[in-house]
Symmetry: C2
Subunit: 225 residues, 2 copies
DNA sequence: GCAAAAGTGTTCCTAGTACACCCATGC
DNA sequence: GCATGGGTGTACTAGGAACACTTTTGC
């Protein structure tokens, strides 16, 4: 499987995946980070990630690393590759190319330290991350932009929420990702006009008027190309 | 430089770039292809591309391969990475990951056979390519979609044209990429409303009314609020 | 009755779309 | 004068943005 017969001038590189995994927590957009237990950048915070194994798909590797390093047991609701970082000097160990992935984890996903070569895993505010190892600050910035673009087009916001949710909750997701407030009336009008949601009872939160619950409507929307 | 000390389970892969290079020719969107001179897929048409060298940037490698395989002497007016293809079985020689790039070449760029491991280079209609080697048909399809998206947002259409051009020429670029006709009046209104163009004399084409020439305006448009 | 959270409509403006004729030139 | 290609305006529609008060509940 690893019998690679290439021309001598061809670079043979280490292939890695890094994952920018987002979730909502207390009305904030959070990013999942791990603390590196080995050099280089030992003790630094970094995006979860690691080397692709022989014969492994890129997306498979991203899922595996996410589970190994953070003990995230739930599957991401969304996972996509978004950019490949291949600058020759980005890793002191040699030429390592990283295929960066964007993941959306369900609401309430805990960050448990899992194992591998990391000593901790934790959620941070995505718009205000700590200093990061390698070029991970750059990767995170790209991931945020992609997330904002996806939000407008696809119904990616739903992936941050449980099966049923209220419109104020959905609006919080939008506001957290776009980092700006939205008008409540316009938001509701726009979302409901899309016809992707259906009613699913109501919920009492204690004080205040009960909220209408919604879920993703059964019928599929036409896929984006 | 190539002292890569990685864990044993880490895949060490061949790193390649492939380039989907587009240009306009006779009102059609064309894609630049090369004929492979070596196995695998000898004699098949394929996207230009090849292995990244040690210490080379991804974009550098894309430019180099484009020049080596097609003798395209002009620099692309636009070059961006758009997706990474890493399926384990995509190349029979072993695990080869390809970072695919989208390039826009200036109007009138000839396709000259350059050398390296290809026996020919030629332009084909981008929407009707011949059978392609590896997963290059897939890569081309992705590239076309990306090109269509970029067209709407950025002023990427200008990169297909010489410094000065007429609005009917610009409209041809849009129509060729989107593969559908556009209304002339609405097109002109929309384009001129963006304020990106300035007048640059006129041109007589022989018969017919002379056309107003435009060029990209010097000053940037004010950002939308 | 008051604090807390959910819910609701109208007006304005912009951008997109549909659609048909006149203008300047070469021959 | 006619063939060729370039240029122009208006009416309609849909979607986005601005904007303030009422309703339902717990306590």
């Amino acid at each position: 499987m690893n019998t690679l017969t290439l021309p001598p001038f061809a670079a043979r590189v280490g292939l890695a995946v890094d994952i920018a995994a987002f979730a909502m927590h207390r009305s904030k957009l959070m990013i999942l980070l791990v603390r590196r237990g080995i050099e280089p950048h030992q003790q630094s915070w970094a995006l979860p990630g690691g080397f692709v194994h022989d014969g492994e798909q890129l997306a498979e590797a991203a899922l595996r690393e996410l589970r190994e390093e953070t003990s995230v047991s739930l599957s991401p609701n969304h996972l996509e590759q978004f950019y490949t970082f291949g600058h020759p000097g980005r890793d002191p160990r040699g030429r390592i190319v990283s295929v960066a992935h964007l993941a959306v984890l369900p609401h309430g996903t805990p960050a448990v330290y899992g194992g591998g070569s990391v000593t901790a895993a934790a959620w941070f505010e995505a718009h205000e991350p700590p200093p990061l190892a390698f070029d991970h600050a750059d990767i995170l910035a790209h991931a945020l932009r992609r997330l904002q673009v996806r939000l407008e087009y696809a119904g990616l916001a739903l992936e941050f929420l449980p099966d049923t949710f209220t419109l104020p909750e959905l609006q919080e997701v939008y506001e957290a990702i776009l980092a700006r407030p939205l008008d409540k009336r316009n938001f509701r009008k726009r979302i409901l006009a899309q016809g992707l949601l259906e009613a699913a009872g109501e919920r009492r939160n204690g004080v205040g008027r009960p909220a209408q619950l919604y879920r993703r409507a059964k019928r599929l929307r036409s896929p984006r190309v």
